[in-house]
Symmetry: C2
Subunit: 204 residues, 2 copies
Amino acid sequence: MPQGRPTRIPDDGLTTRARRNTAVLAVHTGAGKGKSTAAFGMALRAWNAGLDIAVFQFVKSAKWKVGEEAAFRQLGRLHDDHGTGGPVQWHKMGAGWSWARKPGSVADHAAAAADGWAEIARRLAAQQHDFYVLDEFTYPLNWGWVDVGEVVDTLLGRPGRQHVVITGRDAPPRLIQAADLVTEMAKVKHPMDAGRKGQKGIEW
Amino acid sequence: MPQGRPTRIPDDGLTTRARRNTAVLAVHTGAGKGKSTAAFGMALRAWNAGLDIAVFQFVKSAKWKVGEEAAFRQLGRLHDDHGTGGPVQWHKMGAGWSWARKPGSVADHAAAAADGWAEIARRLAAQQHDFYVLDEFTYPLNWGWVDVGEVVDTLLGRPGRQHVVITGRDAPPRLIQAADLVTEMAKVKHPMDAGRKGQKGIEW
């Protein structure tokens, strides 16, 4: 159902317009499905609003989410060719980050994850995009490949109006604390429990 | 993270290919954000796979989700004009179902919801689409406007390979039992808790 009015008026000295225009930091976590899918759904909405979209996938395998990637490349083309929606960039760690000089270095996943975050931090400082998806980013955080404290500080201090959505299981408590919007996707039932494998159009 | 292999091989006599091609009934429920957004993210993936998409929105207000609707209309146009992805239909109860003869009848929301479901049941019987989103459909079910038992029977008995995703809070237990994939989106934190209002590109 449509969400109603805010339950209280905050005492933060902001006008409604200023508050409305505050950038959102969202986290989708939990063991259930839909974390990344909902992030891409949000990106779809942002694209339609003309926002500049950048997706960063912190996963090793390039097999997954190819459907979303292909669809967003089409959307990006709609922007480039017809001015419809916003521009789209899609970067994958698995294939070696597109900006990386040495594609061979992706064998070191920890270094690749750190490179990915360093690039995102640079872009946030430069206000390069409007809407960032950091897909499966909780894993390098939890594995200690990227420092949670530095990430939280950078996100909280990011200039301008840049929305960031982070997905992945077991989001670190400090990240949850820093976020404006946190949803836990809890698994109630999953087809793989019944031995089904994934299928095209549904799983990728 | 990419989901791994099934935890067990089911004893259902199906080949892996047959099992892989089984149609999915998914339910996104819970009080958190992301139920509809994840459904539209799934639809995006299905669109990319060339599936025929139909969205049915059981909401009164036409204001919400206009971003998704606009984006999917663009995607549908990509199909129609260039053969990219699948065809897209988007039907809203709020504006009066597009197939309804008497637009004035939408003042009776219970009747409109029943009409919507009757049309969906007809399309399922005719195998008209590949991927259905029944957005916010749990509300008419819970309000008794549409019979849960009939819905569950129709969904379980639907022919061919038609995927259905149903969203909304408080999914009825019988629907959850019938579903293959159920995710509960639990609210951990929401910007409106802090008095923020929704904003374009994020909330709609």
